[in-house]
Structure formats: structure tokens, C-alpha cells
């Protein structure tokens, strides 16, 4: 399949990397020659210089024979125009546009239909939704949902005084008294696929599959306090901050939004009447104290500088704020983030890329393709959701009789809306929804690829 990516910014490059690994042919368009040259050196792609919304540039990128156009250039309007122009040249093309201006947020669906786009992505809005989900269950560093929200993979960090510390995995079900499956453990930057003898240590990150209904129970039995988040401080009134404040204020949470630019504050106060907007510098210790950082349940650091976000989060942690969420835009230095022990990290660009990759995979083969793909453990692991159709092999056979590929784990089977963590006696049936966990370098194009 041929893919044209318009815009070689952070998202464009991240997408290029991910899609190349899956074996697609990629053409990049950008209006800076230097950026293009750097990309052509790093990746096996062809670069076309020019404005991606102009017909000549698109023709040069061979848009007539392209199956998918992903417009992730700087401006929304350019992205839209790019997709429309491409559609005019090649009516069969699928188009994905990134639209991030909050002023268009309410009309995304109409825009999709009017301009015949296949998908609109909005990384900031998606990040806000992700943060909102995280705020629902303080204690999890990250949540990925599957099977229409019935199954989740959550990330937990083993604390020093936790019951999990120095316990073997086989004793897990006795300790927490509910049915879960640990599908991966990350220690430092090494990811293990653990068996029953694996002993958890302080600082390990566990990736746990559980039915959504079990999550509250899981947290309670782990001894993590889970009262509802009532008061949230958001540092940074950018796009993510705006979306998040808007969504949280709808659910009745008390939100305080700190923003440095005075004009932006007035704008925000106009759009968000229920939110208390404060003009000030969030990196200032005294200021945060005066805004009552000690009394808040959660703090979300969303300024445009990663370094600033990290420092704000560290500071919040020193005040024992129960939940701290940090926005990170650069994925190049995961080691630093780990040393600092920042808690939940949210990367809008990665979320956006994952969504696009999911779409591309589904496009690649209509039969048996993954419905959802989530990467976790610093991108080293992947969880995929499949729905079994007529072509699924080995239906009705007990799992212990099947030979699976190496590093493939069946995390959960959902049948008639009831999620089950499978054991050796379980089996697949048609119309089941199955969650598979694998190493990220194994590409599963369809469900049947899991068998050896």
C-alpha cells in the first residue's frame, strides 16, 4: 500500500517510523528542504519538496496511485485543503487530516462528511480524553480500553510499601482477590513476559489486563485510596488544557487553570465560565502554593515545554498530590523520565499516531484486522483487539492444545459482553473479541497470525 504523509513534523516522522516498520511505501511532503533531507537520510522514504495543498506537489508525490493521504502539516486549513485537492485528483484515496484548532472541535463530524475525509485526528482533544480517563482511577499510570470499554490494560507501579513488593506472581490472586492477568513487567527499560515464579520488585511497572468492573476492586485490595477526584489544577492553558478543563468542568469537577499569557486567560475565561482561570507562572513555587496545591487531588502539567512539565510534576509530588499527570511531547528521552519517577505520562503525538496506525492496519486488510492497537511499555509491547470471524482458525479447541507464536499472549476473551481471563481450558468461538499482547516488533496483520 502506498501512503503519502504531508508534513514532516514530529507526528509525521513518528508515523513514518511506525508505518515503515509495517512495510508500507511512504512518500513525505514538506516545505522545508532541510527537514526533508534529514528524513530521507534516516528513513527509506522519498521526499517531495513543496506546499502539500498544491496540485503540482501532490502530483509529483504520485497521488494518483496512492491509497492513503495523511495530512499532518502545521495548519488545519492546509491539511483540509490538501485532502480535498488530493480527493479531487484521485477519488479513491483515503484521507486523514489533523484538525487541532478548538474552534473547529464541535464540527469535526460535519467536516469529515462535507470534505469526504476518512478520519479526522485531533491529538490535543484525544490527550485530554486520555487524561480524563486517567483521573477517574488515580493509581493507574495509564489505561487502555478494549472490547467497547469492557476490558482494560492498566499500568501500575509497585511501590515500596505495597503488598505486591517482593511477592511472586503466582500468589497474586490471593493477595488482591480478583481475577487479573499480568501480561508484561517493565523493570527499567527491560520488558519481561513474566511467568508464575516471577518476583515483583519495588519500582517495577506492571501491565495488567482486567475486566473494567474489577478495577475498583483491584485498587481497593491493593490499598490505593480511590476517592473521586474533586479538585484539579491544570498548569498551561494551551489546547490540551482547554479541552481538559472543558470536559472536567462538565462532570462537575472543580478546575483551576493556570496560564501565563494574560490575553489567553481572558479568552479562556470567556470560553470556560465554570472554570477558575488564573493568570500566573506555574513554575513559580510560591504561586502554586498560594493557589492551594496542597489541597488539590490531582495536578496536570500541560505547558508547552517538557522540562517545565517535569519540574512542575516533581514539585507537585513533593506536596503529596495524589495524582500527577505530565504531558510529554518528545519521546526521545524515556530514561530521564524514568529516573525522575514522574508518574503518568501522556504524549498527545503518540496517541494520535496510534490512532492513525490503527486505521491504516484496518484499511490494509478488511478481513480479520485488528480493531484496536495500543502500544505500551515505552512502545516495546503492543496490545491488539480482534473480533473473530468465520475465517478464524482453531475455534472450539482448548487453548492448551494450540501452539502460538513466541511472545504472543492471549490476554482476554470477551464472549457475549462478558470478559474472561483465559486459562488452558478456555477456547475461541466465532464472534468472540480477543485481546492479544505481543512484543511490538511482531506485526500481527490478522488474527490467524498468532498461531505458530
Amino acid at each position: 500500500m502506498k501512503i503519502v504523509i504531508a508534513g514532516a513534523g514530529k507526528v509525521g516522522v513518528m508515523l513514518t517510523k511506525k508505518l515503515l516498520a509495517e512495510g508500507y511505501e511512504i512518500t513525505l511532503i514538506d516545505h522545508t528542504q532541510q527537514v526533508l533531507d534529514a528524513c530521507a537520510d534516516r528513513f527509506d522514504v522519498i521526499g517531495v519538496y513543496g506546499n502539500c495543498a498544491s496540485m503540482n506537489t501532490l502530483l509529483e508525490a504520485d497521488i494518483k496511485k496512492t491509497d492513503l493521504l495523511i495530512a499532518v502539516a502545521g495548519e488545519d486549513e492546509i491539511n483540509l485543503l490538501c485532502c480535498m485537492t488530493a480527493h479531487g485528483i484521485n477519488p479513491n484515496i483515503h484521507t486523514i487530516a489533523r484538525i487541532r484548532n478548538p474552534e473547529y472541535a464541535d464540527q469535526l463530524y460535519q467536516m469529515r462528511d462535507t470534505f469526504a475525509l476518512s478520519l479526522i485526528v485531533n491529538p490535543e482533544r484525544q490527550a485530554a480524553m486520555e487524561i480524563e480517563r486517567l483521573l477517574k482511577y488515580p493509581g493507574f499510570l495509564r489505561r487502555d480500553t478494549f472490547a467497547k470499554g469492557r476490558v482494560e490494560i492498566v499500568e501500575l507501579k509497585v511501590m515500596e510499601n505495597s503488598v505486591l513488593c517482593d511477592a511472586a506472581l503466582s500468589s497474586l490472586s490471593d493477595l488482591i482477590k480478583c481475577k487479573i492477568l499480568v501480561c508484561a513487567v517493565r523493570r527499567g527499560s527491560v520488558v519481561y513476559a513474566p511467568d508464575g515464579n516471577f518476583v515483583m520488585e519495588k519500582g517495577d511497572h506492571l501491565y495488567v489486563t482486567a475486566a473494567s468492573g474489577e478495577l475498583t476492586k483491584l485498587l481497593k485490595n491493593l490499598g490505593v485510596i480511590t476517592h473521586k477526584v474533586k479538585r484539579v489544577i491544570i498548569c498551561g492553558g494551551g489546547k490540551v488544557g482547554f479541552y481538559l478543563a472543558y470536559r472536567l468542568s462538565k462532570t462537575g469537577t472543580q478546575v483551576e487553570l493556570i496560564e501565563q499569557r494574560r490575553e489567553r486567560c481572558i479568552e479562556l475565561a470567556n470560553y470556560l465560565p465554570e472554570v477558575s482561570v488564573v493568570n500566573g507562572d506555574a513554575s513559580n513555587q510560591m504561586f502554586l502554593e498560594s493557589e492551594g496545591i496542597e489541597q488539590c487531588d490531582a495536578l496536570v502539567a500541560l505547558t508547552s515545554f517538557d522540562e517545565m512539565n517535569m519540574i512542575i510534576s516533581l514539585y507537585a509530588q513533593s506536596y503529596q498530590v495524589e495524582q500527577v499527570i505530565t504531558k510529554i511531547d518528545h519521546t526521545d528521552n524515556p530514561t530521564i523520565q524514568d529516573i525522575l519517577g514522574l508518574g503518568s505520562l501522556v504524549n498527545p503525538k503518540e496517541l494520535c499516531c496510534n490512532q492513525i496506525v490503527r486505521y491504516v492496519r484496518a484499511m490494509g486488510n478488511t478481513s480479520g484486522a485488528a480493531l484496536a492497537v495500543h502500544s505500551f511499555a515505552e512502545g516495546q509491547m503492543e496490545a491488539l483487539e480482534f473480533r473473530l470471524d468465520d475465517e478464524a482458525l482453531h475455534c472450539g479447541e482448548p487453548l492448551r492444545d494450540l501452539t502460538l507464536r513466541k511472545n504472543v499472549l492471549i490476554a482476554c476473551i470477551t464472549r457475549h459482553g462478558r470478559p474472561v481471563i483465559p486459562d488452558g481450558n478456555a477456547s475461541f468461538e466465532k464472534d468472540d473479541t480477543v485481546v492479544i499482547v505481543t512484543r511490538a516488533d511482531i506485526v500481527l496483520r490478522q488474527f490467524n497470525d498468532i498461531f505458530a
Binding site: L20, E25, I26, D41, R42, D44, V45, I46, Y49
Partner: protein
């Protein structure tokens, strides 16, 4: 530097070298040529074992591969490949001195066609085949072949561009399609199709199978090794004309052929470099034909010989149908200019490349205008696209390196005490991968009389010319081998 990955890469190249020798071994076995069998057999055996060991030692290489490693691998790869390619000549005692065998092989791989053999017809068929086959491999490039056949591992797909850039001639190397591997495959498929066509046309002219294949290899790689002592002169006019046409075809940028297949005729027709190339050819033929009109019996014969000589020099092939050393000075001067000019970028030909000459003219024109009007902003454009300052800078540096190396080489070769024409044209002919020069290295002469030092310098020139200087020049730089940049 990632030595393991480089080791792996070099081992793959040598292994490929051994595989390429198999057909020659088969010919030797069929013809029961014991010396050749001995030469090829031992070389293949030793090379495969050595490459196998290196591959085994380097199997756990990190895939990281940067421009530095790419450039060095290309330079070293070509040298090692030639060192191994020379072994059959030496082991079989067909060429008694190893340096001579090395010279012959480098001349083959770099598609120069300069020979130290005084009697080509004395070689066995398998040796002749190998000699010509090195042209064919060297023409499109062995790394491009490697890229086409070896599946790029998903992780290290980035390093391939450095290799293509290092091996493909031209100021601005690009890909035809997004995937490196497919680009390499398209290039080789076009190359094979054109070569097969050439063989078929030559067979119609009454050549024997081996002669046709060897001549086609020499033409395709724009090399110039023939199978006869008098090159192409002894063949019929038909064969000479076929050679002229195919030499010119192989001197065209291969992306033009790809665009023709895609039906983009207008772009090909409007290609400035192609127009320049064709213009040079037509102009030179007309001027030389007028100049030498009295030397041949008819206008037809004159045109045939002149066209052949112009084609062989501008595409840097180096075949000959007549001793152009006897032509008037005006004609010889035109030929020397053509030697420098060379074929199109992205073809199998050598030289400075038409594309570069064209860009230099444009750059010169721009700077003249800038001198007259310092406030003037003018960009250099080619085929309607802006040429970035980076490319122009590289072009100017290339010109400097080119002239500098040429002068230093002439300086060292002059120690041999040959005539000035011999000294200069031998360096020019080797550096531009042509083969024959004038005077003592003219079309009916060869390079056997040079001293070992001069031969080494010419070997260096041939490699530098084929790989466009920098991959070879880098190997001599001290900073290349430092641990930190």
C-alpha cells in the same frame, strides 16, 4: 564506528563477488581449461570461506549505520572486491604480476577499460568472460545489486540511502520509488533488459555467443574491454553501429527510461541534461566529421567512425574502431573535452557528468550576473526545480577535488618519463573511466609499460573517478579513522 556492521557488509560484498565468478568457473570447466579452473576454483573457495567466517563473527552487529560507515564501506568494498576479483588472473598465472591483475580488475569494475594486456586474444574464454563481466557489475554498481537482492531488515532501513548515494554517479541522487530495494530492482531490471537487447542485436550481426555477451557487457557498463586485440575495428559496420547506439543508450540517465515506461514522455523530452548530452554528441560528430573528412573513403564511413568514436569517448566506454590518435589536433581536442564531460548522471558512464557541467555553467552565469548587480537574487534551476545551495556547494567542492587530484596524479605519473600527452591523457582517461588516451596509451596501445607506482596512482584514480572521489578520498583522511568526530 560500527565495525561489526561494516564487516558484515564487506563480507556480503565479497561473497557476492565469489558468486559472480561461478559462471566463469563453469565456462572453464566446459572448456577444460585447467589453469582457469584452478584460478576460479581456489578464489571462490577461499573467498566463500573467508566471508563465511567474517559473517559468523559479525552476526551480532548493531544495525546502526550512518553516513560515515556508509561512505567508508563503499570505498573499502570496492577495493576489496577488486583485490579478490584479481585473484583468478594471478592464481592461474594468466597475468603473472598481482599488481597487473589488480590494475586489470580495477579497470574492469570501474568500467574504465584500460588494459595492461598486450595480447587479449591469448586469454582463455573464461578469463575473457570474467574480465567483461566485471564491467557489467561495476557499471550499475555492486552495492545497488546488493540492495536489490538482500532484503533490508526493517530496523536498519535508513542506512541504504547513504550507500546508493555513495555509489550512484551524479550531483543529486534520488530514488525512483519510495522503497530503496524496489529502486535498486528497477534499475537492475532496466539494465538487464537493455543488455539482453544488445546481445540479441550483436548475435544478428554474426558474432559468436561469447563475443556478443562480452561485447554487450563492455557496452552496458560503458567499460571497453574487448575480446579482440583491435577492439571493435575488425567487426562489420552493422556491429559497429549497434555498438554506437547502445553505448549512447547506456550513457543516458536510467530514470529517463523509467519515466518513459510510466508514459511521462514530456518530462523525458524536456530533460535539460538529456538535451545537453544529445547536443554535445551531435555537435561533436558534425565538427569532427568536417575535420577528418579526407581520411576515409566515403561520407558514410566517416560518419560511422566519427559517431563511434564520439560515442565511445562521451560515454567513457573506450572501444575503438579506428586509431583516432592519428586524427588532426582539432578533433583530438574535441575528444579530450568530451572525456571530461562524460555521460549523464545516473547512467553507467563516468566522467564529470553532463548534469554537473550544465549546473556549473548555470552557477557561473549566476555569479557573473551577481557581480554585475550585487543586489540580484537568482537561484539555479534545473528542469524547473530549484537546486539548493548545498548541492551547488558540493558541486564546487567536487570540481576542486577533481582538478586537484588530476594535477597530483599527473605530477606523480610524470616521474615515469613518458611524453606529456601520454602522461596527461593516461590520467584523464583513467580518472574519467574511459580507457584509451592518446600517444603511448592511444586506442591501439595499452598501459603495460607504466611503473608500479604509476599503476597504483592510476588504480587510485580509476576508483576515485568511479565512486566520485569522496568515498575513496575519505579513506585517506586521518579524521575518518579517529574514534570521535
Amino acid at each position: 564506528m560500527n565495525y561489526k556492521m561494516m564487516g558484515r557488509f564487506l563480507a556480503m560484498i565479497t561473497l557476492l563477488d565469489a558468486i559472480f565468478m561461478v559462471p566463469s568457473l563453469v565456462i572453464a570447466v566446459v572448456e577444460e581449461d585447467a589453469r582457469a579452473m584452478f584460478g576460479f576454483g581456489w578464489t571462490i573457495l577461499l573467498t566463500s570461506v573467508a566471508s563465511g567466517v567474517v559473517l559468523l563473527l559479525c552476526r551480532k552487529a548493531r544495525v546502526r549505520f550512518y553516513a560515515r560507515e556508509g561512505m567508508i564501506s563503499v570505498g573499502l568494498g570496492w577495493i576489496i572486491m577488486s583485490l579478490i576479483g584479481a585473484l583468478p588472473f594471478w592464481i592461474s598465472r594468466e597475468i603473472p604480476h598481482y599488481l597487473d591483475a589488480f590494475f586489470e580488475t580495477v579497470s574492469g569494475f570501474t568500467t574504465t577499460g584500460a588494459s595492461i594486456l598486450t595480447n587479449v586474444e591469448g586469454l582463455g574464454d573464461s578469463m575473457l568472460y570474467w574480465r567483461s563481466f566485471t564491467h557489467w557489475i561495476g557499471g550499475m554498481g555492486v552495492l545497488v545489486f546488493l540492495l536489490a537482492v538482500v532484503p533490508a531488515s526493517g530496523k536498519g532501513s535508513g542506512f541504504t540511502m547513504h550507500l546508493l548515494r555513495a555509489e550512484s554517479p551524479g550531483p543529486n541522487v534520488g530514488k525512483l520509488v519510495p522503497r530503496m530495494r524496489q529502486t535498486a530492482m528497477i534499475l537492475y531490471i532496466l539494465y538487464i533488459i537493455l543488455t539482453v537487447l544488445d546481445v540479441i542485436f550483436l548475435l544478428f550481426g554474426g558474432m559468436s555467443a561469447l563475443e556478443a555477451v562480452c561485447t554487450a557487457f563492455g557496452t552496458a557498463g560503458t567499460g571497453g574491454f574487448g575480446v579482440k586485440n583491435d577492439s571493435i575495428a575488425g567487426y562489420s559496420p552493422y556491429i559497429q553501429n549497434v555498438c554506437t547506439v547502445f553505448m549512447l543508450l547506456f550513457g543516458v540517465n536510467f530514470s529517463c527510461y523509467y519515466m518513459l515506461i510510466l508514459g511521462r514522455f514530456r518530462e523525458v523530452f524536456r530533460d535539460e541534461e538529456l538535451r545537453f548530452y544529445l547536443g554535445m554528441i551531435v555537435g561533436s560528430i558534425a565538427l569532427i566529421a568536417l575535420n577528418v573528412r579526407g581520411m576515409f573513403s566515403s561520407w558514410g564511413e566517416t560518419l560511422r567512425h566519427v559517431a563511434f568514436q564520439v560515442a565511445t569517448i562521451i560515454t567513457t566506454t573506450g572501444f575503438a574502431t579506428t586509431n583516432f590518435d592519428l586524427w588532426p589536433t582539432f578533433s583530438k581536442t574535441i575528444l579530450i573535452i568530451l572525456m571530461f564531460c562524460g555521460a549523464c548522471a545516473g547512467s553507467t558512464g563516468g566522467g564529470f557528468k553532463c548534469g554537473r557541467v550544465l549546473l556549473l555553467f548555470k552557477s557561473l552565469n549566476r555569479n557573473v550576473q551577481k557581480t554585475l548587480n550585487p543586489q540580484k537574487i537568482k537561484v539555479v534551476r534545473n528542469n524547473g526545480h530549484m537546486i539548493s545551495e548545498k548541492v551547488l556547494d558540493n558541486l564546487h567542492i567536487y570540481l576542486i577535488a577533481y582538478v586537484f587530484l588530476l594535477l597530483v596524479s599527473i605530477f606523480i605519473v610524470s616521474l615515469d618519463g613518458q611524453s606529456l600527452t601520454t602522461t596527461t591523457t593516461s590520467v584523464i582517461a583513467c580518472f574519467n573511466n574511459i580507457g584509451p588516451g592518446f600517444d603511448a596509451v592511444g586506442p591501439v596501445e595499452n598501459y603495460h609499460m607504466f611503473s608500479p607506482l604509476a599503476k597504483l596512482v592510476l588504480i587510485f584514480d580509476m576508483l576515485a573517478g568511479r565512486l566520485e572521489i569522496f568515498p575513496i578520498l575519505l579513506l585517506c583522511a586521518r579524521s575518518t579513522w579517529k574514534k570521535l568526530i
